[in-house]
Amino acid sequence: MKALGSSGWKGPVKFRMPTAENLVPIRLDIQSEGQRYKDAFTWNPSDPDNEVVVFAKRTVKDLKLPSAFITQIAQSIQSQLSDFRAYEGQDMYTGEKIIPIKLDLRVNHTLIKDQFLWDLNNFESDPEEFARTLCKDLGVEDPEVGPAVAFAIREQLYEIATQSVASAKESRLSKKSRRGSDHGSASKASGLSMDLVKLFSFKSSVVRKRKDLDVYEPVVDLLTSEEVDALEAREERHAR
């Protein structure tokens, strides 16, 4: 076990999703001809680009959407993919980052609230596996919850990864003269991450504080149809 204090800084890593599978979360929200199509799924950026159109056609056919959606869907996917690819060449500093991931989503009749810690440095992590296990353990019957959970985790990881790229750039620009240990502090400075050293030092214990227990416990709620309708109406109002 290396001494945690001194290894606060790791060298820059090429940008990628900090998970075993380098999958991109794609969100679609397209409105056209009076119809609205919202969707969210994960995409493997190493698949050939013709898959995008194939997928768009397939989806439009399956959901019986007007064919104008095909190009819009394809374009949206492509632009998100190219955003991702734009990040790919650049460096990101991951440091010793353990971040809390929050789940607060509603899928059909199921409501999930949860929070847990995720090690950003573990490039073998698998949100899909986590989502599957979560649903199995909590006895979630609706099969659409799993993908939504995985997607939510991925989205948050993606956001943090892009932030770390941005911060890496900033720190490089601003602190050209001073290098070395400052990079470590830069990564810690992104307020979300927790300091491992503080967490596992002698003074504090590993056991979670009682006040945090509720926060970190998963909550699954099954809503009735009326509640669902009420929530949806509220969301629509917020959106406008």
Binding site: A20, L23, T42, W43, N44, V54, F55, K57, R58
Partner: protein, 461 residues
């Protein structure tokens, strides 16, 4: 969910709904035993699985799945493993059967599976293609091909195979291959040279698994009369020199000429005799160059020819020899000769040293006995290797001869049969001639009688 568990156990209730099903035969019922059923109750409307998909089982993975979806089985990524594939596959099929006979769409499925959507799509297309989902018994459904690649990959038995007839279409860039092709038999892929070089093939395949296939004009399969004639002439003239034969036969490579020649029917056997003599000659040459190791340039030079002649045995022969022959063919005879000579001289130098030391002092022979025996042992080993090689080759030639003999014997039997037939028909002919003759005689006598009686009548009146 619990209520539907009984169906999901699915041995694929393979009870044909209507007898008019062309795909499900009695062989399909065997499949229900081969799969693993937790006790399944037969539903009112049973699920049909076409007979070419009877390999499917809930807990196992069949070879065609590995072939068609190699991305899950090449251990390149830790999460894309067979277990994950089974999760995807079983969930999709379960979902389909839960709602049978409603057809399940890709979007339904991908919304419920935790994975990246393109992997789901591939598994979905694969299952649909093999009729494990969305298989309608009424229409002999030609499955929708959303991706030509899946049609090219799922080979062997599926209902509508895109037969690559004369043209070879590259699986990578979907263009027509003209010059040279790279074929991977394991996954039934064809790539044009550009895609192969660029590495534009599926994730799981190694570049070494491709074989180069030359496509000159794609008139490979059928040899025209003219070409056969040319081949015959060329072989008569040039005998063993396949290079010249190939140049004489327009548009065919050496390999083609050799393989076609071997395939030629009986009448050409007599030409072959002289050639087999040649091959034995070449063989003697090899024996003669009984140096150490893979020895003489003769061997190297003639071994490509020898190899081509003995193409049927190419797999059985010594793999090192095959490689050496292949390399020497690649490098060209001159280079191979030079290399072999250098190797031989190096080895003989070693031998010479050892012998010099040994012969220098007869008194120290015991002391040098070790050295001598070492080099001698090496030499003996090499010799025995050569002998083994020779024996193998002899055995191979024997086999060929036997096969040819069998061919001749079969032909003789055939001719004898024909002979018998001839005899029979000749006899028939004889009989008929006799009949005809007797008929003619009868008529003649009758007419004579008639005339005689006529005359008598005339005389009387």
């Amino acid at each position: 969910m619990a209520a539907k568990a009984s169906d999901s156990g699915g041995s694929g209730e393979i009870l044909p709904i209507t007898p008019s099903l062309s795909e499900t035969t009695s062989g399909v019922t065997a499949a229900s035993q081969s799969t693993q059923p937790p006790s399944s109750t037969s539903d009112v409307d049973a699920v049909c699985v076409p007979s070419y998909s009877r390999w499917f089982s809930w807990t196992g993975i069949d070879d065609c799945e590995v072939r068609s979806l190699p991305e899950f089985f090449n251990s390149k990524s830790s999460s894309k493993n067979p277990k994950f594939y089974m999760y995807l596959r079983n969930s999709i099929i379960k979902q389909y059967r839960d709602d049978h006979p409603r057809k399940i769409s890709f979007t339904d499925v991908r919304r419920t599976l935790v994975s990246d959507v393109v992997s789901i799509r591939r598994v979905f297309d694969f299952l649909e293609y093999w009729g494990l989902i969305n298989h309608s018994s009424s229409s002999s459904a030609k499955p929708l091909k959303w991706d030509e690649k899946s049609a090219g990959d799922a080979s062997s038995e599926p209902p509508t195979t895109v037969k690559e007839t004369a043209k070879r279409i590259c699986n990578g860039c979907k263009s027509i291959c003209s010059v040279a092709c790279f074929v991977c038999d394991k996954y039934e892929l064809t790539l044009c040279a550009r895609c192969y070089v660029r590495g534009n093939y599926r994730v799981g395949i190694n570049s070494t698994e491709f074989k180069r296939v030359e496509l000159s004009e794609e008139s490979k399969k059928v040899w025209s009369e003219k070409e056969t004639l040319q081949l015959m002439e060329a072989v008569m003239h040039y005998g063993d020199d396949w290079k010249k034969v190939a140049t004489h036969v327009t548009g065919r490579t050496e390999k083609d000429c050799v393989s076609q020649f071997v395939k030629l029917p009986f009448g050409e056997q007599f030409v072959k005799e002289s050639d087999s003599e040649d091959s034995l000659e070449a063989f003697d040459q090899i024996k003669g160059s009984a140096d150490l190791e893979s020895g003489g340039s003769d061997k190297e030079g003639s071994s490509p020819n020898k190899r081509m002649r003995l193409t049927p045995l190419a797999d059985a022969s010594n793999p090192i020899m095959a490689q050496a022959a292949f390399l020497s063919a690649l490098a060209g005879t001159k280079v191979a000769e030079a290399a072999a000579r250098a190797a031989v001289t190096a080895l003989s130098d070693v031998d010479y040293e050892a012998e010099k030391n040994a012969s220098g002092d007869p008194n120290r022979q015991e002391a040098n006995g070790g050295e001598i025996t070492n080099s001698k042992r090496a030499w003996a080993d090499a010799k025995s290797l050569i002998q083994k090689e020779e024996q193998e080759v002899e055995g191979a030639i024997k086999e060929i001869v036997e096969v040819e003999m069998k061919k001749i014997r079969d032909r003789i039997v055939h001719f004898e049969k024909l002979d018998l037939e001839m005899e029979r028909s000749r006899k028939q002919l004889e009989d008929m001639k006799n009949l005809l003759f007797t008929d003619q005689l009868n008529i003649f006598f009758h007419t004579r009688k008639a005339r005689k009686s006529e005359d008598r009548v005339d005389v009387q009146t």
